[in-house]
Amino acid sequence: MLEYDILIVGAGGAGLYAALWASQNPNLKVGVMTKVYPTRSHTGAAEGGINAALGNVAPDNPEKHAFDTVKGSDYLADQDAVEIMTQLGPQIIYDIEHRGVPFSRLEDGRIAQRPFGGASFPRTCYAADRTGLVILHTLFDQALKQGVEFLNEWFLLNIIHNGERVLGVTAWDIRNGGVHFIKAKAVILATGGHARMYWNRTSNALGNTGDGTAAVLRAGLPLKDMEFVQFHPTGLRKTGILITEGARGEGGYLINKDGERFMKKYAPEKMELAPRDIVARSIEREILEGRGCGPEGDYICLDLRHLGEKKLMERLPQTVEHARVYEGVDPVKEPIPIRPTAHYSMGGIDTDKYGQTEIKGLYAAGEAACISVHGANRLGGNSLLDILVFGKIAAEHAAEYVAGVEHLPTEGSEYVKKEEEFIKSLMNKEANENLSKLRKEMGDIMASKVGIFREEKPMVEALNKIRELKERAQKGLAVVDTSKKFNVNLIQTLEFLNLLDLAEVTALCAIERKESRGAHYRLDYPQRDDENFLKHSIVRKNEDGSLSHGWKEVVITKWQPQERKY
């Protein structure tokens, strides 16, 4: 049986950084389990940068960074956690710089910083437009240096706990097939976000399916603020793949079917460069009101033609390539069909500011966790900082915790047996449903009814439909490939079941929050309502499978809620 002091699940930025800090103590046995290989993780797709108040370009300090973050969160972030993050920011940047991250530089050799949405100063450190990639790869190289032990291509099934302490996890060995119990005194979940519940309307990787978050829900533990999902205004129509904000920054137009630059109606001054949520809502409104482009009227055009081929190839080569390869459209000659795309999960596993859940030894960090530092809306450049700061804090806290406890006596065979039976039941079921069809239905329901514009009735319909989908899946969704080795069909089915559980929670929380705040915009309650809803929503699953919804106070230290104006 595999046995660790600390088992980290997920090997993106949060997981790898946690592993580096946890394995500093050579007496601790630390393992990192990932369903892919570490360098495949979605941290690598982060482009823009990482925020920290270094003050290299303009005078800045962590307190200002904290205020911008709190304001950006529409006052739903926990201010004590935000202060921790912004205070540690510079130190974390210096640490990863000392480990080798190749940041872009100023002429004098210091780290360059650029302005980003919602920040009062140029605060975003970057490495060209591939900041996440170089951070991920640098941390991986450092993990090899420190001899971190990896379990590559293992899939998390369930978290095992006794109501007080965590005992370990059950997992499927993708390469060889087979269920294992992995014993651990502490488990850190760094399993990423779950915006794949919007299936084809997301910028996320195919595997961002909230496996850790769903496992926490199944384990009877609370999820927090699950209604908050950030939509990026410009995703490609067919795939949701991101077209950078830089395309509009360079002067691109957003055009409806009448050829109108419609942003003049919604943000006459800033036009296409208004804040993300406003642009996303404007695009969606044009489509809903019948001014979308194409035969189905289901998209808006991002027109870059007037910029000319030379400028496009110089400034936006990646955009040109993405449009050509993934949309089949040449931006030099044609407008790019776009639609807002689900981008980031603000909500997730409910933890305190140390990443702890209510079960001793069970931690979460990164996009999987909701601490919460992003509240109702995350600022660009804050997610890379979040994963590192709280990856480190969780690791240090866990290392201290495991030093003082013994493994609980358990062999795990009963857990393994239960999982084996479950997987067998999936394989033995009569297949009446098609995975890709169900998945598409889920994505369509979520995008059309629990997307950018929300309203009671459609959301209730969505909740009911998601529950119907769950029933249909329960009855008729079978794993048709019964082989053991590298069974992609099995993994995709398990991922879909995770997404369905989380979609249900998201719809429920969105119905319960009868106000508009940050990314959660309700047509029937267009105002923020601090009196009733300045609080975190909390959901847990009961033993009978039903969901309980409740609320939790927001931590306010220095900044009383004000109207969020830019």
Partner: protein, 372 residues
């Protein structure tokens, strides 16, 4: 609606049931797939859910989906399907796992050996001491130098196309040496660690096995240029003073013999690089009636030529200096063979042939030192 269909001929192998690999053909409607990855999903969702392949980001940053497409390593997610169909001109599109890594199932290969090479070579940063309180100062020009190698996503497309891997299983692979180069260039890295890395690149990674076929550059989906990085690491090995390696000796041979005689001496190579006595080889040539010069015939104008070389070397700052001790030995042999003083003999005819001589050698020199 376009009903055009394309045939994909896919490598299948499930070790649980198949004795050996086989190929199966699938028909995919061309308009159902933007990329090859979409076409594979179409097959998985509509025709055969048991088909195994890796995928994750579907936008060319994660490196999961490298496979061999009509014989060439590619990322499935970055291969436009329509173009592929057009280029295949009605023939089936052949999709196979990339070469040289053990197949786990269908298109899925074992990436462990490739990742392990990085660990063996030590491709990481050991922060140079003293570690500053804030960030190290790094000039922007330096960061630009490692922009290419830091684009690498470890998809191993280069590994699967590598001629050196085919011949030398010990050879670490193009991507690994790009990473060595990236960390050698980094001024924040500890000097001893850099040397250690370059040493391992030679001893553990067999970096001298690269034949400079440039396929790695051709197949890289991210614009990394491993073959060039390999040349640079080799040069750096020489610069670090690793004289005892065949590759470095060969470089030294090139530098010294070209300086001394204007050309390399293939007959002296085995002896100088591997310590093998060339006499049997020379005899074999002579037996067959070949005219063999133990040293190249001295060229007219050699002294001028030597000045030129020194000038170029000063300008280009190559990784290796001329070993003048060695040059004197070469001179001596030339004098013995041609029974003449090397300097006077070769300057005689120089004036007449000045122009063409200059042109020819400037060009050759440029090619030879152009890599640094």
């Amino acid at each position: 609606m376009n009903q055009e269909k394309a045939v994909l001929k896919i490598y299948r192998y499930n070790p649980e049931v198949d004795k050996e690999p086989y190929y199966r053909e699938y028909e995919v409607p061309v308009d159902k797939a933007q990329t090859l990855l979409d076409a594979l999903f179409y097959i998985q969702e509509n025709l055969d859910p048991s088909l195994s392949f890796r995928f994750f980001c579907r936008s060319a940053v994660c490196g999961s989906c490298a496979m061999k497409v009509n014989g060439i390593s590619r990322l499935a997610c970055k291969t436009p399907f329509k173009n592929l169909v057009e280029n295949s001109q009605g023939r089936p599109i052949v999709v196979e796992p990339i070469n040289f890594l053990p197949v786990i199932k269908d298109l899925v290969v074992d990436h462990d050996p490739a990742f392990n090479s990085l660990k063996e070579l030590g491709t990481w940063l050991e922060p140079k001491k003293p570690i500053p309180e804030k960030e190290y100062r790094v000039p922007p020009e330096e960061v630009k130098q490692y922009e290419h190698p830091t684009n690498c996503i470890l998809c191993f497309a280069c590994y699967g196309s590598c001629e050196a891997v085919m011949d030398d299983p010990k050879y670490a692979g193009p991507y690994a040496f790009s990473r060595v180069y990236r960390y050698v260039l980094d001024s924040r890295n500890d000097e001893e660690h850099k040397k250690e890395m370059v040493k391992k690149a030679m001893e553990v990674g067999d970096i001298w096995s690269c034949v400079q076929c440039q396929k790695c550059i051709y197949v890289c989906p991210k614009g990394v240029r491993p073959a060039e990085d390999i040349q640079n690491v080799r040069g750096i090995a020489a610069e670090y003073g690793f004289k005892d390696y065949p590759g470095v000796k060969k470089l030294q041979h090139f530098v010294d013999w070209i300086y001394a005689t204007g050309q390399i001496n293939r007959l002296a190579l085995p002896e100088e690089v591997y310590g093998v006595d060339p006499t049997p080889l020379i005899n074999k040539f002579r037996e067959r009636g070949a005219e063999v010069w133990e040293v190249p015939k001295p060229l007219p104008g050699l002294l001028e030529f030597r000045d030129l070389i020194l000038e170029v070397m000063k300008e280009k700052k190559p990784h290796l200096d001329i070993d003048f001790h060695h040059v004197r030995k070469i001179d001596k042999r030339v004098e013995e063979v041609f029974k003449a003083d090397v300097c006077t003999k070769v300057t005689q005819h120089f004036e007449e042939k000045k122009e063409s001589f200059f042109q020819r050698f400037w060009k050759k020199l440029g090619e030879f030192f152009g890599t640094s």
